[in-house]
């Protein structure tokens, strides 16, 4: 019997819940290595041990973020802070990370301290752009968005749900539509960590067009990651949206 696309999608979403549940079982801080660097992972924080996209974005985002002493980088939903640390360790860029979840803010601060980049990084608590001042401008804005395209699923029993699911694409909408207000100039770029396997590209395209972006391109793509999801291999993409 052939599986319908809906059934395949449901299986992937259930796989994501499974990963989040496994992640939630970690009740103590632990060390985890990403791209040869060691990071602390706190309980209840989106963990690179279970979600393989962190390593992919930690490798790709620094290549596509505007780096340098006078550049400013913003990461939304920073989690453990691994991507942000990778950007700063690649180029000494002033970086700001935000996260809605208090444990993630603590976790990112720990990793900033662990990698001695406190002079470059600033971690703030709040949803999407809330902790960002109206006049703060950035050269690159990135978010490994919750691309789980599943509006309704059995009661999300954990704090990690907002990191993987975004019912109605509400936060994705705020992220894309609010980006321009924080762009330093028309050459700033918006990087979107996404997975077409789990999400829906047309949603991104629609929101990018609505926000006035002229270009939306895939600038990096992982192969199929076998353990990206317990149900099916998953592919991750890094999208770049530009005004010019």
């Amino acid at each position: 019997m052939t599986e319908t696309p809906e059934e395949a999608h449901k299986a992937l979403m259930e796989g994501t819940v499974e990963l989040a549940e496994a992640c939630r079982k970690e009740r103590r801080p632990y060390m985890y290595e990403v791209l040869g660097r060691d990071f602390v992972v706190m309980p209840d924080v989106f963990s690179p041990k279970y979600f393989r996209d962190t390593a992919f974005f930690a490798k790709e985002v620094p290549k596509h973020a505007a780096g340098g002493r006078n550049k400013r980088f913003l990461e939304i939903g920073t989690g453990t802070g691994i991507v942000l640390c990778s950007v700063v360790l690649n180029y000494p860029t002033h970086a700001v990370g935000t996260d809605f979840y208090g444990n993630s803010v603590t976790n990112a601060e720990i990793n900033v301290l662990l990698h001695n980049i406190g002079n470059y990084a600033d971690i703030r608590w709040g949803s999407v752009y809330h902790p960002i001042g109206k006049n703060e401008k950035f050269d690159t804005i990135f978010w490994n968005v919750p691309f789980g395209d599943w509006d309704v699923f059995g009661a999300p029993p954990y704090t990690m749900a907002p990191a993987v699911f975004d019912p109605g694409h509400k936060n994705l909408r705020r992220f894309i539509l609010g980006a321009q207000e924080h762009f330093r100039n028309e050459y700033s770029n918006l990087l979107i960590g996404y997975s077409e396997t789990l999400g829906n590209r047309s949603v991104l395209e629609k929101l990018a067009a609505e926000a006035g972006f002229k270009h939306l391109d895939v600038v990096a793509e992982s192969g199929y990651v076998r353990d990206g999801n317990p149900k099916r291999p998953v592919k991750y993409e890094l999208f770049e949206a530009r005004l010019k």
Partner: protein, 239 residues
């Protein structure tokens, strides 16, 4: 010296422990009395030196809600974090110092994990150097190096264990006489069988302290080559 065993074997074992600590090139998490503690490379490690777990258990009990609390040579910050964990939001001001820059960073990392920000001030420097002249503490603690000989290379790890002629212990006791509040208690982590207690007593006497009283003692430590080692927690007050 009250020596329950062959001192040469114990010194050799200690050097070996320092060497093993030095061989750790990556940060790791070690469990200290049920508390996960991040340990950075080059920092005095509770994985190898069991005294940390003993003091992390007994020092918080003896603090008795008396703050500010100062820890000299905090290392990973496990003891100061245990104090924070025990007293929670009722914790008062905590200050921790270490001469090792990596240790100071390590203590800050653990301080964040144990929600000690806003309570904990970590400073870099030798014994009381980072403490301002007017600062007074109700409790001052140091897990002091109790070997008065010098072995191994002159690095931060060796300084955590060896203290030639007890020079740093003397500085600690004299400095404590200045920085301890009138009704404060000086807490000294010292080996109850391998440390030269008569010298500690002399330093305390000269600095105007009462004779040290041992308030807690470990069983024989199960450290590698350290089966003849006992840890003690000594307390003294200003006369």
């Amino acid at each position: 010296m009250t020596n329950d065993g062959n001192i040469d074997a114990i010194l050799a074992g200690t050097e070996e422990l320092i060497e093993e600590t030095r061989s750790e090139k990556k940060p790791y998490v070690h469990d200290v009395n049920g508390m996960p503690i991040v340990v950075l490379p080059g920092v005095f490690s509770p994985r190898y030196f069991k005294g940390t777990a003993f003091y992390a258990k007994h020092v918080p009990e003896r603090v008795g809600s008396q703050f500010p609390f100062l820890e000299i040579g905090t290392g990973t910050g496990a003891v100061v974090c245990a104090v924070k964990k025990k007293y929670g939001p009722a914790t008062g001001k905590l200050v921790a110092t270490d001469i090792n820059r990596e240790a100071a960073r390590n203590a800050l990392v653990n301080g964040i994990i144990y929600d000690a920000r806003g309570f904990l001030d970590v400073r870099i420097g030798h014994v009381f150097c980072p403490i301002r002249y007017h600062e007074r503490f109700k409790r001052i603690f140091w897990n002091a190096p109790f070997f008065d000989e010098w072995h191994g290379t002159n690095d931060m790890l060796a300084r955590s264990v060896f203290d030639r002629d007890y020079h740093n212990l003397e500085l600690f006791v004299k400095g404590a006489a200045t920085h301890l509040a009138e009704d404060g208690v000086l807490q000294i982590g010292f080996s109850s069988n391998l440390g030269k207690q008569e010298i500690l007593e002399r330093f305390l006497e000269e600095a105007g302290f009462t004779a040290p009283e041992m308030v807690a003692e470990s069983g024989y430590s199960m450290e590698k080559h350290g089966r003849n080692l006992k840890y003690g927690l000594f307390e003294a007050r200003l006369k």
